[in-house]
Amino acid sequence: MTDNVYKPTTATIKSIQLEAGGGRPIRTFKIQVDEQEARDQFLHKPGQFAIISYFGSGESVFAINSKPNKDGIIEFSVMRVGNVTGKLHELEEGDKVGVRGPYGNSFPVEDWKGKDIVFIGAGIGVSPVASVYRYVLAPENRKDYGNVTVIYGARTPKDLVFKDEFKTFEERDDLDLWLCIDWKFGPKGPTGESAMKGWPAINMQAPGETKVDSNRKFTAFVPQLVEVVKPNPENAVAVTCGPPIAIKFITQALDKLGWGADQIYTTLENRMKCGIGKCGRCNIGDVYVCKHGPVFTYKEVKDMVPEF
């Protein structure tokens, strides 16, 4: 038979990190493909996704958040929401999973050389963006890019994923890190009293007028934080990800700051089974998220039919 694209290769779990607790906990898995030949074939690019098998339960699709490597190392974050993700959350180091891919297109990091890059993520949505900021921030690539800004938010401090990594970002002088949490908002938006200690509220009515000192942590929604940070669109690209509603407001904020829709990159998710354009279901109009995406410019997203 022809090479079987549906047959996963096996990989071993190297480490598991609990990123966030609660009813829908998130764990980040680092796995390594077992066979050398399969490692050589699994050379992912930033933005691509993998299909992971829990043998006996099925497959699920995950954005790869590790930077490209030749060792068959694949990192992905899993929110426990269904059958397969529930099973994956029960696994331990040393256990076996299946993996196939990498699939989909990728962020055009080659075209971005010499440009400033702004990463904007919300919640678990930071995961697909992680592969590309890890690529850009890697010592061997960092010099190829201009200023790097990371803007990231979650509901509570506990929900901020990749905590250890973000701690190292705070110490780096070659990137500007901005964080926000939004759980403290009452019906009237944030007030002085409702903001969390150490996370002052921004000016919700006019986010751009918020007074900024050395503090980089706020009680705010990510789109408003973008208006506080005011990233400069000149010779720059923005990479954003998160729930569709967050992306919508983030791009509106960028639009106010003069960003063009073709300067903004994002990744989309849809239910998938095959990952290779055959099983149907992931299409938004004639655009297959698995084949034409998952990376799109916001201009491309705006041209799609409204079926998200």
């Binding site: 038979m1 022809t2 090479d3 079987n4 694209v5 549906y6 047959k7 996963p8 096996t10 098998s53 043998f55 006996g56 339960s57 099925g58 497959e59 699920s60 929401v81 269904g82 993700t85 256990d95 076996k96 299946g98 998710e269 849809n270 239910r271 089974k273 095959c274 290779i276 354009g277 055959k278 099983c279 149907g280 279901r281 299409n283 938004i284 109009g285 004639d286 297959y288 084949k291 039919v305 409204p306 079926e307 998200f308």
Partner: protein
């Protein structure tokens, strides 16, 4: 040169194919009033209107095991290949609409990534199409001539046979077809001028028998501007969401993949799925990009008439009519496609209505 084969020699042909090359032969067989493709050892009557179920499951089974799961003590840790046959397959008596559907499935299943299960069966299979002289499904639903096909189309087939009473008129189109001629040897005789001219007449009459028409001019243009039209509410209102239109479609290809454990053995299966089912697009979070029946019916129509063409340069409908005759609430793809043109004012604007009445 065309050949002839006498109907009473068909069983001999079958025996030769089985004995010499182990062909597995499938043909449309009527069972309890329903025509289905079945494995045959003797040639059945072969006088049938088109099969109720399309032949796609000979290439893309409704459910198939992709591979087994390898077990290590209590857990599954990898995959195990299953044994597959390498014997050739013959489909005797496919309708030209269904053979043309194979070209659409080919495009999809070979789109950048080759689907190994489909390709394996496709490569092993020889297709003998029959000129469609008994075209209409119940309720007169088929319209192949509107979709670029014809009752005597040979597209997608390895041979085209035409029923001439005592004999079949045999045209070989590919190496696979020639191989069959070779194996049949003296069972095939040369055609003559009388048969050649008679077959031309049969084909002309077959075309005339196709009564339903869909004017595809303007459908794409109408769809391009009507995604958010109220039209979709209107026509999807009576849809039951049963998915029969997609299950009976010879070009619908959607599937699900999942693991099954039974008696301690594990396997991965895939099975036909349908864009008409709500869980088909539902995210694990509960969010659903196509939450209502109108969105799902709309997707079916757009996929056939717009998306397939944009992505694979082929319209995803061959006009077999099964979705029409099979729909329990009489949703008719011809009426839907004509209706959207009307709703968008395209008929009047481009004078297509007049053209249709000519």
């Amino acid at each position: 040169m065309a050949k002839l084969i006498s109907k009473d020699k068909l069983d001999d042909l079958l025996s030769r194919l089985k004995e010499q090359e182990k062909y597995e032969v499938f043909a449309p067989v009527e069972v309890d009033g329903v025509t289905l493709y079945q494995h045959i050892n003797k040639v059945p009557s072969l006088e049938f209107t088109n099969s109720n179920k399309p032949p796609k499951d000979l290439f893309f089974p409704q459910t198939e095991t992709m591979f087994q799961l390898e077990r290590d003590d209590k857990v599954f840790v990898g995959t195990k290949d299953i044994e597959t046959s390498s014997d050739p397959i013959l489909v005797l008596g496919m309708r030209p609409c269904d053979s043309r559907a194979m070209l659409i499935l080919d495009k999809l299943f070979y789109w950048d990534y080759v689907d190994p299960y489909y390709k394996d069966r496709r490569d092993r299979t020889t297709i003998i199409s029959f000129t469609c002289t008994l075209p209409n499904m119940p309720k007169e639903s088929c319209f192949c001539t509107s979709m670029g096909g014809a009752p005597d189309s040979n597209e997608g087939a390895d041979m085209l046979w035409t029923d001439m009473g005592d004999v079949y008129y045999v045209e070989s189109l590919t190496d696979k077809g020639n191989k069959l001629l070779e194996l049949g040897g003296n069972l095939f005789t040369d055609s003559d001028q009388a048969h050649d001219s008679k077959v031309a007449e049969i084909k002309v009459n077959a075309k005339k028998a196709i009564s339903r028409k869909l004017d595809t001019n303007g459908v794409k243009e109408a769809l391009e501007k009507s995604f958010e039209s109220d039209y979709w509410d209107e026509f999807a209102a009576r849809c039951l969401g049963c998915g029969i239109c997609t299950l009976l479609c010879p070009t619908c290809h959607c599937f699900d993949i999942y693991d099954v454990i039974s008696n301690g053995e594990g396997r991965r299966e895939r099975t036909w799925d349908s864009c008409q089912y709500s869980h088909y697009t539902a995210h694990a979070s509960g969010h659903n990009p196509r939450p209502e029946k109108k969105h799902r019916q709309r997707n079916r129509i757009y996929h056939k008439f717009l998306y397939m063409e944009n992505n694979l340069d082929i319209i995803g409908c061959v006009g077999c009519g099964r979705c029409i005759s099979g729909c329990p609430v009489n949703i008719d793809i011809i009426e839907v496609a004509e209706g959207i043109k009307e709703a968008e004012g395209i008929k009047e604007a481009e004078g297509i209505k007049e053209a249709k009445n000519d």
